[in-house]
Amino acid sequence: MSNFKLPGGRALWLALAGGALCIAAPAFATDMIKAPTVEQQALMVNKGDTSWMLVSSALVLMMSVPALALFYGGLVRTKNMLSVLMQVFMIVSIAALVWCCWGYSMAFTSGGTASTAPFVGGFSKALLMGVSGGTYAATFSNNVYLPEFAFVIFQMTFACITPALIVGAFAERVKFSSLMIFVVAWLTIVYFPIAHMVWYWAGPDFLADSVVKDAAGALVSQDAGYLWGMGALDFAGGTVVHINAGIAGLVGCLMIGKRLGYGKEATPPHSLTMTMIGASLLWVGWFGFNAGSNLEANGVTAVAFINTFVATAAAAVSWALIDQVVHGKPSMLGAATGAVAGLVAITPASGYAAPMTSIVLGLIVSPICFFFVSTVKNKLKYDDTLDVFGVHCIGGIVGALGTAIVADPALGGQGVFDYTVFPAGVAAYDMMGQLIIQAKAVGLTLVWSGVGSAVLFFILDKTIGLRPSADAEREGLDISEHGERAYNY
């Protein structure tokens, strides 16, 4: 029965004020409508939930533009500042279009044959066909719905930021046109399938009807993504967003190659002021990303919010302390990097952890990421310009595995829910079993995104090329790719 676990499932019980004590009572169960019709769903929409989701969506958009653009932009040299801003701005714009044309449908519908359905959705909602102001999307609680457009918009912002994260790995040396083609292809063959595998499911009012016993006697749903069905926990996108983008970045920086003059010329950040502004806006926007991922405005939303707040603070402190110990001075860039590492680590765990375990997760993630960006990168000599792998992929893995630990109710975690029954009930929690499931989800994401990205980069490299000419790179991408400068003074 513990096969089905879901982020934020606890929401229902908190929302019903003490309902957790009487969930087994038959009188309560009969009040719930199983598999409600669209007309019935319309009466299950809450204005507070809807408002929160729309605000959260705007916050997540702010994470891409301007937050990520400034965070990354400040770290490159003056001659490439504008290229980073433009790459992020255009990726967000293009991803939004792709999302509405086929992305939403590929991620959040069930389609294809029984063998492909767990891995990717179909095209029944391509061009947002059938989605209107009168259709609804499930939340994590029985009989609670969102206007479907609110869900489409919220998820769109995730599809916008994820490919934008990748560009940091090969900043200062990529051809703009090739990058845009890469983004469209990467979203299609990597992001949408992974999002489908991790986040797609029939919803709490429908899942029980799709459950069958498999050969081993375990209950499996025929209407859920592969990793979701396995029981992988990813509250807000540790695998889908951070590990996914982080490994794509590593593959990209290896295949594109090092910057000219790497290791010989000094390439210090041109404006840590911009980077600090960007990191701070990321922190603020991340409340939409994590707390918004509960899809409702309730107690679990507040749990995700405070966890996001304190894990980030802990990771910033932790990184500053390491800087103090290792280099003798606490650096602003270290604090900002630590904050982002903390945000990444708490992302999959945000709705499951408790504040104190979130702090521990934040304290732990910084030394691990610090080791990767300072020691491992220098030893292996890959030019991950802005440490997309070291912070997002490694931080994402720490968070994904850590989620199995901090979600344990024995440690004050939120536990998991069993949606194979209607209405959903509390599932028993097995930390070791969960850790293995989390590791499988991490492994699958690394392989899927790593291989998919490698194939795409290879094809682009052999056709239109991935790098600008050496002269163009030396002159800087601002002038050579965009015909502008970031600063004229």
Binding site: P268, P269, H327, T337
Partner: protein, 112 residues
């Protein structure tokens, strides 16, 4: 006429300007410059990557004065810009062949 060129620590600029004004100097030209002498650069560390910047930021002051004022001006700058630590800078004195005030066309000492 002499051109006195002084390379000093940036935070000493105000002290030097005040001391020169008190000594009767009417004007000066100030430039932000970089360079190195016995004082080597600083080490900067960004996410574990160390960069040694061997150019140190300094301020260059240029003053043109009558020959008779030269030794006093040099002494004034030397005292005002002095901290006693390495990197205090240098003062150079060179001959100036001609000076012209653009507004009036006056030349040499009257143009200063």
């Amino acid at each position: 006429m002499k051109l006195v060129t002084a390379i000093i620590k940036p935070f000493k600029l105000d002290d030097v300007r005040e001391a020169l004004s008190a000594a009767g100097v009417q004007g000066m030209t100030v430039t932000e410059v970089k360079g190195f002498g016995r004082q080597k650069g600083q080490t900067e560390i960004y996410r574990g990557a160390e960069y040694t910047t061997n150019m140190v930021p300094k301020i260059k002051i240029e003053v043109v004065i009558e020959d008779s004022q030269a030794s006093r001006v040099v002494e004034t700058i030397q005292q005002a810009a002095h901290t006693g630590s390495i990197g205090d800078g240098k003062i150079f004195v060179t001959d100036v062949a001609q000076a012209v005030r653009i507004r009036t066309g006056e030349t040499n000492e009257t143009a200063l």
